[in-house]
Amino acid sequence: MAKTIEEINEKIKNGKVVVLNAEEIIDYAEKKGIKKTAKEVDVVTTATFGPMCSSGAFINFGHSDPPIKMTKVWLNDVPAYAGIAAVDVYVGATELSETEGLSYGGAYVIEDLISGKPVKLRATSHGTDCYPRREIETYITRDTINQAYLFNPRNAYQNYAVATNSSNRTIYTYMGKLLPNFGNATYCSAGQLSPLLNDPYYRAIGIGTRIFLAGSQGYVSWYGTQHNPGKERLPNGTPCGTAGTLAVIGNLKEMSPEYLKACTFHGYGVSIFIGIGIPIPVIDEEMVEFLKIKDEDIYTEIFDYSVQRRNRPSYGKVNYKQLKSGKIKIKGKFVQTGSISSYLKALEISNVLKKEIKNGKFYLTNYVAPIPLEEKYNTLDILSKEEL
């Protein structure tokens, strides 16, 4: 018998909701069976905490006196995009500081704002009759600005690649430092806890779904950029590599630095760790089949990041149980593995979300529109107008 979101929300309201995290559901379903689990459990919380480069924040500063139509804007010397009206900007997480280079950037500006720290705002303009001011330098904080919200075009990747390095020199990538001659391998997914791996065909997660976003209650605003649901999948539904993605939105002023952290990949640049938690309603038995997925059932592919091409050579597939064991075999050689996303923080988020639901502070949503199951994945080719 299928459950509706409304029925689950009624249980949340009455304090009778049964919530497990995506790790606990594995043993529960094993012991009790699919049928009983579907009947007894109402919600499963999934989560992830990893670097998500495609993130940023919209900010409205309010108007100065005399006012300015900002055309170039810097926040702590990090350029922000100002081509939207007079005092709106978008600061991207990976934008680098003009004075500190690779060690400070947009992600740090966002973290500083969330932490309540002062941020230096500098802007210039050509000046107009209605906006006469040509330059401004002042300080802002979370509390002095108007609306500020994270709007991340691509987060919560449904699985990701494993990176290794076959060359004879150390390379510095967004997958971290990769030692020469297959000296190590890095991966980046919460595996069995990860939101889109627990809902592989987007039955529950869709546009409008309420989520935990860096400590706030945010929403899935769209499917993410590079959304590629057509990736090869296992019979259990999980894709063997990068597939679906989510665009998410949430109020920056309600976020916590506990669940959002700026970072720098040495020799690569700035990125941002974002904590995302998504509750999945246990609407039917089929949902339990997807939710009981465990690390050994999820596979991903190993790629050689020393090959500087769009298509990198593959060294085969491994599952997350093997990856989390600390070593995998590549070309017959044992290679040490390390995760870039934090399983501990993901687990913490799944438990925070569980508590919020149990305490009646977080209600589930029906999505407004589904996330597409078909989408063309284009590449950028260098063409003349005639060749298009």
Partner: protein, 135 residues
């Protein structure tokens, strides 16, 4: 018999002297060179484990300091800032002696100083700069 792991830094002017040989001959110490390198400005650096009589090790350190070698306890040098660390574990892939591991039960990063050979490979791999070395 005691065991001590030390980092020896040799200034340019004594880099060619057979100093470790003296440790055996004069102080009857066993040693195990875990790592040695000469940096471009010709300062020599050595991670060494000394094994022998406690008093003799102390005397040997005095001798080394006297010749101009700077001596540091090795295991004290790598410091993990737990407030900064997010327990991702990317450093565990770099750590060849597995001094850094993610505990399979708590999922927390654990640092075992006894296993650390101070290779410093982990220093620039931490995305939140939680790993520092004290020189």
């Amino acid at each position: 018999m005691v065991k001590r792991k030390l980092v020896l830094s040799f200034p340019e002017n004594i880099v060619t002297k057979p100093i470790t040989y003296k440790l055996v001959k004069e102080f009857n110490l066993e040693f195990n060179i875990l790592r040695a390198e000469i940096t471009p400005d010709m300062e020599g650096k050595m991670l060494i484990e000394l094994r022998g009589d406690k008093v003799l090790i102390d005397r040997a350190i005095k001798y080394l300091t006297g010749t101009g070698v700077s001596v540091q306890e090795a295991a004290k040098d790598i410091i993990i800032n737990k407030n900064q660390c997010i327990d991702c574990g990317v450093c565990t892939s770099i750590c060849i002696t597995q001094a850094l591991i993610i505990d399979s039960k708590s999922f927390k990063l654990k640092f075992n100083k006894d296993k650390c050979i101070l290779c410093e490979l982990c220093l620039d791999c931490c995305p939140v700069s939680a790993i520092k070395v004290h020189m």
